[in-house]
Symmetry: C2
Subunit: 351 residues, 2 copies
């Protein structure tokens, strides 16, 4: 730890210090930090609520994640959930557990990242809780969003003839993580303070891992074209797990096609370097924060004119199951992945 | 750990297992667990949001806190914040970080406590996040409430002639904690599995610490008598810190009177045993979850007819400061306490 000790400010001092510059910008935010609860006026609209818990050592490694990036990402992953309902994020509450190895400056950096994300996406910080922690850094963020009732998109609305689309590309955030982990191992071995990690030509992978964005632009584009998806989810656990959520809630099956998976050049190169199957990375990597959604078949031509989205498959009847069709025509059953995105064993099998 | 390993269910399995019996009971809960966000319809009313982070070793000690009680308390402390805005809690989201020393049964117990609290107070569980944790048990709960705009009570509305009331009694939860800590130390020394802690005649103190209630009844009683407090807060950090929050936000000072502090017989007895000043315990103990509020002077006679509340002082002009007046007429300046409720040194000074 370098810098001012948090105990020099105390609990209330730290909260005051961090929140004194917070300005409410959204008309729905009636009262923010500084009371028992925040007050929100969503008038006749629906209120959306989502929450994420991020734990040091599980969700992030502060050896290679700067506090400012962590603050940014912590907010953005919550915004992503609200966009996945076709809503607009409006407010967040931020709870932090802080151990004594962090300085006031560390927490300021985290807040700077949070505030940058909030400014970028038009969201207010309206409350939270700050506590000391015995172990590591704990972040819990709850995001409140707004939506017109008839615009809300659930996971449950897909029909068995719908087309499946995903925005952006897949697998890059996971390859970024692998790259950071590799450089960390090299750094640990080199035992040198002058160690410079080799990230040239891999900037996109790092950005996708360290500073992801939520696809506000895709939600806006769909709205401008009058398209309300029949179902939608954001790709956080990985395409495979997330399409299965849509299938389960909508009582349908699906077919995804390897040849249609959108994969960036850097992702493909890096997978090659690591001797990993890039389709497995795209399916199971996770943390892409892209939007995965379905639309009725008759919208195919309209969708074809939109940029930034990719047709990757179609829904089927539930009894047909959920499959991934490889380039050579093999149909492999899709499996949900939980906490451990790609276990070592399956990675080796794929390689 | 005894019982089924959580890894046998996996992340999605555990969430399904815990949430499959959750029923939505509130008309405002449109969509609960199982999508990217919950959907809430608060129609023309205001939405209140509050959040609490509870960390093992900081906020609770699982040596003497049963998981079911922890679940109950985790929910209730959030409801208390909504009542302190003169609102009604409606929904919670629940995020858990779980290390591998916990079994499925442990988490079921925690959920049983949560559900009991939700049933008692008429609140729905509508979402959350479950994650593995490297260290200990982490609980983050966000509560959503509802209120008519004109009924919301902020910390900032007190006038310098208002009367100060508190519900119930103070200091019992803190003495319950001291008692549990003492028995834990005895247990550690005795090194016997047949150790039976001595809690006879101290049940009220334990209940106040382990299974606190939020004062829904007080909010209801005030509403039935047409009384809207000018300011309100729940006593979580301790009377001293919490009255100072009202004073700061309302730009007033205050005088509290020792002779008027409501203190239960068991609290007084226990303080005597521990050689602690009971007024200090009542002022700084915290975790009482009573409601502390102000009403205009002219309501004095109406208030005198209400039961379960106590007149403990009055607001003053800000320039007069904030003081605690002892039985012998000494005026001591009130001080805010943060994380460390009663430091050893000040406890010794008081004794």
């Amino acid at each position: 730890m370098k810098g001012k000790e948090i105990s020099s400010l105390g609990e209330f001092g730290l909260i005051d210090h961090l929140t004194k510059h917070i300005q409410l910008t959204q008309p729905t935010s009636r009262k923010g930090v500084g009371d028992d609860a925040a007050v929100i006026d969503n008038a006749h609209k629906r209120t959306l609520v989502t929450t994420d818990l991020l734990l040091e050592g599980i969700h992030f490694d502060l050896v290679y994640v700067p506090m400012k990036h962590l603050g940014y990402k912590s907010a953005v992953v919550n915004f992503s959930d609200i966009y996945a309902m076709n809503g607009t994020p409006q407010q967040i509450t931020v709870s932090l557990g802080i151990s004594n190895r962090f300085s006031v400056e560390d927490i300021e950096e985290f807040y700077a990242g949070l505030l940058l994300a909030c400014e970028t996406y038009g969201v207010d910080i309206v409350g939270g809780d700050t506590s000391s922690s015995l172990t590591g850094f704990t972040v819990s963020i709850t995001c409140i969003g707004i939506a017109d009732e008839e615009q809300i998109v659930y996971r449950s609305g897909a029909k068995d003839t719908d087309l499946i689309y995903v925005s952006g590309d897949l697998g890059a955030a996971y390859m970024g993580l692998q790259l950071l982990e590799r450089e960390k191992r090299v750094f640990d071995k080199s035992n040198s303070k002058e160690f410079q990690p080799d990230f040239a030509g891999k900037e996109y992978l790092l950005e996708r891992q360290l500073k992801p964005e939520a696809r506000k632009d895709i939600v806006k584009m769909l709205a401008e074209h009058g398209i309300v998806p029949t179902s939608m989810i954001d790709v956080s656990d990985g395409l495979s797990s997330d399409i299965l959520h849509l299938c389960k809630e909508s009582h349908v099956g699906c077919q995804l096609f390897e040849e249609r998976l959108p994969i960036d050049y850097q992702t493909a190169m890096m997978a090659e370097t690591f001797n990993m199957n890039v389709a497995t990375v795209a399916l199971n990597g996770g943390e892409d924060y892209e939007l995965l959604f379905t639309v009725p078949l008759h919208l195919h031509d309209t969708m074809a004119e939109l940029s930034g989205i990719h047709l990757i498959g179609h829904m089927t009847k539930a009894e047909n199951g959920s499959y991934f069709v490889t380039r050579d025509g093999q149909a492999m059953e899709l499996k949900a992945q939980g906490w451990n995105h790609i276990p070592e064993s399956s990675r080796e099998e794929e390689a």
